[in-house]
Amino acid sequence: MSETPIIQVQNVTTGYGKKKVLSEVSFDVYPGEVFMITGVSGCGKTTLLNSMISLLEVISGDIFLDGSSIVKANEKERLAILRKIGVLYQSGALFGSMSLLENVSLPLKELTALPIDAIQRIAHNKLKMVNLDEFSHYMPASASGGMQKRTAIARAMALDPKILFLDEPSAGLDPSTSVELDQIIKNLSKNLGITFVIVSHDLSSIYNIGQRVIFLHDGRVMAEGKPEDLRKHKDPAVYRFFNREPVS
């Protein structure tokens, strides 16, 4: 693992209107890492992710993605930073009027000057990486939840990002599809060296693919470390969470 972090979150405080959701959150993510953000429902996981991908303004603190601050960036710089990242949303967020292949081709069509045959070839390759090439003509409505999530990962990878942000990738999936998705993430991390930041409260997924994890509680980082280490954490809230015990 390299010494220079690819993501630095420094004392980030953020929220919605008057309501603060995160207070003074700090952590680093290193290149090639599968980094998990977890915690109980409502602890601010998705809020943190939205701040990291500049969908939500931070109140104070800074976030560096690949060395550039996304908080202080102007519009042009922000777009340049966004080119280095890909995002998988909880719902998949595929465009219903486009086939799976067209969904994956979209960023390439819109943001590059590549000829259409090159775009098609790249999109097919990306779909192959998530084992979906033979279903490329499917429309999202006729694809299963797992297929939609995998297509969304392929779309997020279309521009070869350095970092992939995944919001609850296993939400709404059956256990075997969830494991299949975990395997794809593992392979992409290992083969392509992509850094993954995954928001999840699926413990089996955290233990399966997470190399490092932070546990958020009441908008603060309560624990940070390897998933197995957090299983033996001294704090009762962390211990209970990582050992699937009831909160009270």
């Binding site: 995002v87 949303y89 909880q90 719902s91 009027s97 979209l106 819109e110 943001l111």
Partner: protein, 372 residues
């Protein structure tokens, strides 16, 4: 009565409960019990529940209310003789409604000022959002004209089909009925002066200059503005708009521009259909009154000038722009709660109708000044 009040000392009041503390008994003693404590303001309140053999959630609520009175007065309260089942009930209730110090309400003046400030801030924020949207829209339309290959042509044609041909039956029906009813209603009055042929002027000019553009726009406001708000609102909830943003794509260019250009181009065609069917309705009445088609067409030709039609046509372009713009704007403003799509849809229709009347008024003034 399952409770007794006893003043142990000047500072201490004891409430002794017995028997069942359930919904039936509590409904009888609730007011008396609270009044007994509220009237005396005891520094120490002892609640004895030793003799209580049953306590349901109404009983727990009473104990909580007594507790709150004491906390509010910054006085003490002790529950004596409690048993495990009652303790459990109290604990459960405490978890639901924590017994904490009640924060005094802010004065009305403060609340009013705070609400006024919040409202003003919200209006300014809304206004800023609308201006940013208009600016972004103008830039994206300009961008599309310079880079037509970057335009979402498929979305444009789909929107055109949705807004145009699919709205045609209702446009034709309303146009026909308006022409027919207007002529029919005017017939007796015009008949008194032997000027029934002039009804063609009334309906023809009315349709071409005012009714045609406005009715088409009103129908589209109900049909298209709401559809755009719902479509884009649902995309927002499904995080598709967020996906565009994080891909570095502009949602206004991607989602709004095709819809606005399609609506602007199709509205004048729909208006022409509405006028045509309105005139057909008018002719149906004129025919029943014994006028020939030649006379009808000749009267139309004499009364309606190309400039009249042009005046209406310009309005329909602007109306189309207003309807589609407002529909898309409200779609993009959709938040992530359950009612938001419905709210956006309603707001889109209401705002479009208000804006249509406003824009029509501006056009009326402008045409009056220009003598059109």
């Amino acid at each position: 009565m399952p409770f007794q009040v006893e003043e142990i000392s000047a500072k201490t009041l004891k409430l002794e409960f017995s028997g069942r503390l359930d919904v039936d008994s509590i409904s009888e003693i609730w007011g008396l019990c609270l009044a007994a404590v509220a009237k005396r303001h005891p520094e120490n309140l002892e609640i004895d529940v030793k003799e209580v053999n049953y306590c349901d959630s109404a009983g727990v609520a009473l104990l909580q209310a007594l507790h709150e009175i004491q906390i509010k007065d910054e006085h003490s309260v002790v529950i004596k003789g409690s048993r495990s089942d009652l303790d459990a009930a109290l604990v459960v209730k405490e978890n639901v409604l924590p017994l904490k110090k009640i924060i005094p309400k802010e004065s009305l003046a403060n609340v009013f000022l705070e609400n006024l400030g919040a409202r003003a801030f919200s209006v300014c924020k809304d206004l800023r959002g609308n201006i940013v949207f208009l600016g972004s829209l103008a830039y994206q339309i300009y961008f599309v004209f310079l880079n037509p290959h970057k335009f979402r042509w498929r979305d444009f044609w789909c929107s055109m089909e949705d807004v145009g041909p699919r709205a045609l039956p209702i446009i034709a029906l309303i146009g026909f009925l308006i022409g027919l009813i207007s002529t029919f209603q005017a017939a007796p009055s015009f008949g008194q002066f032997g000027a029934q042929i002039l009804m063609v002027n009334l309906v023809g000019l009315g349709l071409v200059r005012e009714m045609g553009p406005l009715l088409t726009a009103v129908l589209l406001a109900g049909r298209t503005a709401s559809a755009f708000a719902a479509e884009i609102g649902t995309m927002k909830i499904n995080q598709e708009v967020n996906a565009l943003l994080t891909m570095g794509l502009n949602p206004v260019r991607f989602l709004v521009t095709p819809r606005i250009l399609a609506t602007m181009l199709i509205t004048p065609i729909l208006e022409a259909f509405l006028i045509f069917f309105g005139l057909v309705g008018c002719y149906a009445v004129m025919h029943s009154l014994g006028y020939s088609l030649e006379a009808f067409l000749n009267q139309i030709y004499q009364s309606v000038k190309p400039l009249d039609y042009l005046g209406g046509l310009i309005k329909t372009f602007v109306f189309g722009w207003v309807i589609a713009g407002i529909g898309c704007l409200h779609g993009l403003k959709t938040t992530f709660d359950a009612q938001s799509v419905g709210r956006s849809t309603t707001q889109a229709v209401v705002s479009s109708l208000i804006m249509l009347v406003l824009v029509d008024g501006i056009f009326a003034l402008l045409y009056y000044v220009l003598d059109i």
